[in-house]
Amino acid sequence: MAVKTVLESVHDTLWKAMEEDNRVVIMGEDVGAKGGVFRVTAGYLEQFVENRVIDTPLAELAIIGVGIGMAANGMLPVCEIQFADFIHPAFDQIVSEAARIRYRSNNAWGCPMVIRAPYGGGIHGALYHSQSVEAFFAHVPGLKVVIPSTPYDTAGLLYSAIHDPDPVMFFEHKRTYRLIKGEVPDNLYKIPIGKADRKREGRDLTIFTYGLMLHYAIEAAERVAKDGISVEIIDPRTLVPLDIDMILESVKKTSKLLIIHEDNEFCGFGAEVAAIVADKGFAWLDAPIKRLCGPNVPAMPYNHVQQEWFLPGVEDIEAAIRELAEF
């Protein structure tokens, strides 16, 4: 097993999946000659024929709309939206067509496509290059929403997503691309979509988190462990379908839940998790369910102080853990 970054994990998995099956094609802005703005598809154009590595105009609704048509007509397209913030022009296609084509046709057509988009902040991208968009799509039945946080999960989930019969929103936290490294098997492998992963065992409280926040939460959990606070961390890996059983199992054990995401709090994904646990795990709770999320402001600002204030940091998480542990 080689140690890879999240970025290398995406690059290598997509590459091997394309070698294995010629129905897999990639399309997006600058994915070909340039190799992608983050270099995810560097070298693809040299390796694969041109009609499998499709450079598109700056036209998101067409990238996704065309991808849906290809997917429903026998292909396995992987469409890249350069930054998750740019996905909104394609929102109609994703919600009205990709998510609905199986339902409206009573299973006559499906839409086995992957929409990859780097999301999240911490890179001084400012108002239109830092957004988290997962909650918009998690709300829509018909879509699957996957957020891998480690190189190992990225490879296994991406390969599953490519061969999933339904449309998969695949959000990669761009700050983790080069920051997070880990061992990744050389061969293609699948991690089932819908299975959470316990990233840390603990007794005193449960943290539900994903993306960059997962790594901050692990660091914070290690700090408080020195003071005898034992934190369990559940990484959902996929928001839809959600592994509700693992979340409930953990809360049953720890009796406390802290939900962390960098997307803003109001109607964020954490609200759904809190509602589910309040409904199905109420009897086990020894404290109110707490959320630590981005603030309810329209976007992540550029200024470094403001950006840091927007993103929950290791210290913020540590403080939230201590407060909840003491409750």
Binding site: P57, G65, V66, M70, N106, G194
Partner: protein
């Protein structure tokens, strides 16, 4: 000389084929009349847009299509569905929202579809299906087939971003797609000329260097002949083609339209060009078909539609369970079931 050649061409068309086109147009007309009746009687609900007046466009165009070709269309789709060969019983049942309908009642009027016929259906977000059709064509090009994708939309769609992004892509990738604009002069209740910078929609195709022509969409023979060149161009791998068919909807935008935006005189002028009357005159005149033959076809389609109405009326409602079916290829675990708390 040109007129003579056109006449010679027309006369070389097989009579049986022409009678079939007549039958299809008559079927659509009778189907729509009965659908409107069922709507007024409260058996069809929601948003209901009939194709009456535009029959020649679908029939003359689809005559060129083969089983391997795809059709992706807009919400005024009953005529397209019937011209492609969808069983009128299943189409009518869908309008009634019945379990026997083409979408088992989930879709209704605007979403008739059949995978077996590569009829992708009516799409009710104006212009959104144009990019879908472009993707379908791209997949066919990738596999190296000579399948043609026909994408039909109205004049209203040509002002939308989907239209422009998709035409651009089809042009740069030389996709096997026919963009067919059914210009019936109104986008819902708004005259096309008030909201489009150009009245001649082919100019929009010219912006993307796509060969284009404007045709009379009220005469089925004319539509058939004009489409020949377009389809041949696409099927031979030369890339997309754009056709603007000038046509007219007799019955307003949808059910309940009081039609304050147009005059009775205008409607009357277009009715004089009625595609079924034109075809009837040609068949009984130049082709010497006895009136009785056409009356026989008319009686036949009326019987087919009466049977379709009866079938729709007698069909069962869909099971409530189907609400939760076909959301994903495999249902989610019970813990994520969308029926929680409701049974």
């Amino acid at each position: 000389m040109a007129a003579k050649t056109a006449k010679a061409k027309k006369e070389s068309l097989e009579l049986e084929m022409l009678l079939e086109w007549y039958r299809q147009m008559a079927l659509i007309r009778v189907f729509e009349t009965n659908a409107e009746k069922a709507y007024q009687e409260g058996n069809i609900a929601g948003y209901h847009h009939v194709y009456t007046g535009q029959e020649a466009v679908a029939v003359g165009t689809f005559a060129h299509l083969e089983a391997k070709d795809h059709i992706v269309t807009h919400y005024r789709d009953h005529g397209h569905a019937l011209a492609r060969g969808i069983d009128p019983k299943r189409a009518m049942a869908e309008l009634w929202g019945k379990a026997t309908g083409t979408s088992k009642g989930k879709g209704g009027s605007m979403h008739l579809a059949s995978r077996e016929l590569n009829f992708w259906g009516g799409y009710a977000i104006v212009a959104a299906h144009i990019s879908l059709a472009t993707g379908i064509a791209l997949a066919e090009q990738y596999r190296g087939t000579d399948s043609v994708t026909l994408c039909i939309f109205g004049d209203g769609s040509t002002n939308n971003g989907y239209f422009h992004e998709s035409l651009n892509l089809a042009a740069i990738w030389e996709l096997p797609i026919l963009f067919l604009c059914e210009n019936n002069l109104y986008g819902m209740w708004t005259p096309a000329e008030e909201v489009s910078a150009v009245r001649d929609m082919t100019k929009k195709a010219a912006a993307y260097d796509i060969p284009a022509k404007q045709i009379d969409g009220m005469n089925v023979l004319n539509v058939y002949q004009e489409m020949q060149e377009a389809i041949a161009h696409i099927r031979s791998g030369k890339g997309p083609y754009f056709v603007e068919a000038l046509t007219y909807r007799y019955r307003g935008h949808g059910a309940g339209d009081i039609e304050a935006y147009r005059t009775k005189e205008e409607v009357g002028q277009w009715r004089e060009k009625d595609p079924i009357v034109q075809m009837s005159r040609y068949l009984t005149g130049e082709r010497g078909v006895p009136e009785a033959r056409l009356e026989e076809l008319q009686a036949q389609v009326e019987a087919v539609v009466a049977e379709a109405v009866q079938f729709a009326a007698e069909s069962p409602e869909p099971e409530v369970e189907s609400l939760w079916q076909d959301i994903y290829a495999k249902p989610f675990p019970d813990s994520m079931s969308h029926s929680q708390g409701r049974s």
